[in-house]
């Protein structure tokens, strides 16, 4: 552990280094240089005057937002003796498990490539490039033959891997004892209990106004809603990321949500961002990747069949195809437990200068989170902005749902948190479900791994994602999963098989998220 001061200086130095060379940095320099012409800038107090100018013109606020964004995304600096893989994931056995999981996926991709005799990547001939460019906005109308492609893995395969995670230094005896967890997850990670969750999610308490509860038709808007909207507008005028993040903990008004999320994620859609997106689009046009077919197949299977999301099918292709070419996503591997898959240019096997990542953003496991793009389409219509929001959401949150790590927002911790909450607060239900062979995690896993997208009604889903952004954590997914079980406990106590339990929990589209969370956290008798 670093000493507090050393840690602070190190964090400052790291953030400065990351922001150096960014477009914000050059903009600030340009602004500072331009300000030299202004009469209020005097030579003898140059530094102070420029700082004052940057403050009044709003540039300091933008820098603050950028710093805040860096603090949210990157973990605090490690001890200097720690190797880089320690920052990705401190526990050795988790790193190993992630490594074997990745190898499995690579083998699957490679074998698909050899079986179907389709190259991993192929440069498109000019005619095909032109055709794709013309069809760019309606790729959904294409009906390519995808029958030979199979998804690289299914969510239940991933759950099997998580169930088999064991710490070799832990007493995993055969005899049931207090050391064995009763659920599916057997690793002893620290998860919050209800008192800690109440403290952590204090803004969701019974005495605080919430959108999703206190804006319902029976409640007069003067009591909460009007004031909340007014505060939201002020936050947007001030352009303060940290304030926005605090604000959305009580929910976003629908009209302000798109801008508030963009403010929290520090997305401004500058001209260079639009250019970057166009560059990615041209990369898609030029090269055809094997994973593209997997993306097509997945979108067809999931979003196209969904009553709410099918309208966005074309958007999904655009965003996801570009996403798989985006090398800036490689940055998140420094704090993710995953490692990007590598390949070599044909004929240059083993030569490091010819090593590239495949796909360019090194994410071959795109399925089952594709559906997490779709809700964003309700908020953002401009492709490059939609793209940036999705990318930022992925590198901040969603990547943790697809890799094995000990992070509190990682899927392993979420599963354990869910099981622990259920076991502690609904022990009879937990025991009953376990006895009939319906381990609760088998049902809730698919909800959490997709962040509930495709299961909740869209307005409810967006209220839930407001809180993910507000608390910068995915733990609320596990709490909601437990709250759903608590809500349907009476019916679940009567079922006698896994299939029947699945049926009780099949349809979540009528659920109201915020009352469930509030009752579970603050009104359950413990």
């Amino acid at each position: 552990m670093l000493e507090q001061d050393t840690g602070l200086s190190l964090a400052i130095a790291q953030i400065v280094q990351r922001l150096k060379g960014s477009s914000l940095h050059s903009q600030l320099e340009r602004q500072a240089r331009g300000s030299l012409h202004k009469p209020e800038i005097k030579l003898d107090s140059l530094k102070e005057d420029i700082k004052e100018f940057l403050k009044t013109s709003g540039w300091e606020k933008r820098l603050q937002n950028a710093v805040y964004s860096e603090l949210n995304v990157f973990p605090s600096p490690c001890h200097p003796a720690a190797p880089p893989e320690h920052m990705k994931e401190p526990l050795v056995y988790m790193r190993k498990a992630q490594g074997s999981w990745e190898k499995r996926i690579l083998k699957s991709l490679n074998s698909m490539c050899t079986e179907l005799s389709i190259p991993l990547a192929r440069k498109r001939p000019i005619g095909e490039q032109k055709e794709l460019l013309n069809k760019w906005n309606e790729m959904g109308t294409d009906e390519p033959d995808l029958s030979l492609f199979r998804p690289v893995y299914a969510p239940k395969d991933f759950l099997e891997v998580l169930m088999n995670l064991r710490n070799p230094n832990y007493e995993n005896g055969d005899q049931p004892s207090f050391r064995n967890h009763l659920g599916l997850i057997q690793v002893p990670l620290k998860v919050k209990d209800i008192p800690e969750l109440r403290d952590y999610f204090s803004e969701l308490g019974l005495n605080t106004g919430q959108l999703g509860i206190d804006d319902s038709t029976q409640v007069p808007p003067e009591l909460f809603e009007n004031e909340h909207v007014r505060v939201g507008q002020t936050v947007l005028t001030e352009q303060d990321s940290a304030a926005a993040q605090q604000y959305v903990r009580q929910g976003c008004p629908t009209a302000l949500r798109a801008e508030l999320w963009a403010l929290i994620l520090n997305i401004s859609n500058q001209p260079e961002d639009i250019l970057y997106y166009e560059q990615l689009k041209s990369n898609v046009i030029q090269h055809d990747l094997l994973v593209d077919s997997l993306i097509y197949k997945d979108v067809k299977l999931t979003a196209s069949n969904d009553d709410y999301y099918f309208v966005f099918e074309d958007y999904l292709y655009q965003v996801l195809l570009c996403f798989s070419r985006d090398t800036s996503v490689l940055e998140h591997f420094s704090y993710s437990s995953a490692t990007p898959p590598k390949s070599y240019i044909r004929g240059k096997l083993g030569l490091e200068e010819y090593a590239v990542f495949y796909p360019p953003n090194a994410l071959s496991q795109l399925n089952s989170f594709i559906i997490s793009v779709a809700p964003l389409c309700f908020l953002y219509h401009e492709p490059s902005k939609l793209y940036q929001i999705f990318r930022e959401m992925y590198v901040r949150f969603f990547f943790r749902l697809h890799s094995i790590s000990s992070h509190p927002s990682g899927i392993v911790s979420l599963c354990l948190l869910f099981e622990t909450l259920l076991q502690t607060h609904l022990p009879q239900l937990f025991y009953h479900l376990r006895e009939i062979g319906a381990q609760p995690l088998r049902i809730s896993f698919k909800w959490m791994v997709r962040a509930f997208s495709g299961y909740l009604a869209t307005d409810q889903l967006l209220l839930l994602w407001d809180r993910i952004l507000g608390y910068n954590s995915l733990e609320i997914l596990a709490v909601l999963a437990a709250a759903v079980f608590a809500f349907r406990a009476v019916n679940l106590m009567e079922v006698t098989s896994l299939a029947a339990a699945e049926a009780v929990l099949a349809d979540l589209s009528t659920l109201k998220v915020m009352p469930l969370l509030q009752i579970f956290l603050f009104a359950t008798v413990t």
């Binding site: 001061d5 720690a82 007493e171 591997f333």
Partner: protein
């Protein structure tokens, strides 16, 4: 005849975190010492007793002719929950005396794992500095680390990669942890109506800034180019398993 390899225009994965190998100021030469393997303290027969002892001792012997002015102890934890450190020091009054030197506790029950039944902190790297210690740690001749792990769920617990760092390295770089960590006196809130700022404060701030600029200079910027191919070519083999 092959043409020379083109410059790759695709970026390496992000550089290791700042502070790792990039000239981060930690004394590069740990003191020479012999670290013995941990000995469990157990009542009863070690071989047949099933209960976990929960306490282990690691003895570190230093060369008798070179007592150490201890600056920092660095180690990687391996499921130890609490650490106590005791030292033996050579004192001027000891010269000529043959009797056993006194053991003094310099760190008492330092918590490494806040929740001993769970993983938090179990494999992290730690530093303990001289200013955190309860007594003076100059002229140390032996160090004893007492490890405690009250939870019975773990099969083994120990410390790894143990290193002791001596005091008084010359370059400012390596002196970084020491004076920076001495930087935090009980800070008075800034007196905004005051006149001349406190020279102590100014000099420490200047020193801090100097170290920061040194660190930044030592690292390249991570500006991305954004190309994923090598010279327009992305014709790749199968994926490699490394």
């Amino acid at each position: 005849s092959a043409s020379p390899a083109p410059e790759p225009c695709w970026m390496e994965p992000p550089a290791p975190s700042l502070g790792h190998g990039a000239g981060f100021p930690m004394a590069p030469d740990p003191a020479l010492c012999t670290v013995r393997s941990p000995v469990a303290l157990q009542v009863g027969d070690v071989k047949t007793d099933l209960a976990r002892p929960g306490v282990a001792v690691i003895d570190v012997a230093l060369p008798p002719t070179q007592p150490l002015d201890l600056q920092e102890i660095v180690f990687k934890n391996s499921y130890t929950a609490f650490l106590t450190v005791r030292v033996q020091r050579r004192r001027p009054c000891d010269v000529g005396r043959e009797g056993a030197r006194k053991w003094v506790t310099c760190l008492w029950n330092h918590c490494l794992m806040p929740s001993p039944h769970t993983e938090a902190g179990s494999q992290d790297y730690f530093s303990v500095f001289r200013h955190q210690m309860l007594c003076d740690v100059d002229q140390v001749t032996a160090v004893r680390l007492i490890l405690r792990q009250p939870s019975p769920v773990w099969l083994h617990f120990t410390l790894e990669e143990l290193r002791l760092y001596p005091r008084g390295q010359q370059s400012l770089q390596t002196g970084f942890p020491s004076w920076l960590s001495n930087l935090a006196p009980q800070q008075q809130p800034e007196n905004l109506h005051g006149g001349v700022p406190d020279p102590e404060k100014v000099s420490t701030e200047v020193q801090q800034l100097w170290v920061l600029t040194e660190m930044i200079r030592a690292n390249q910027t991570a500006a991305r180019i954004g190309r994923f191919d090598v010279d327009g070519c992305y014709d790749i083999n199968l994926l490699s398993y490394t």
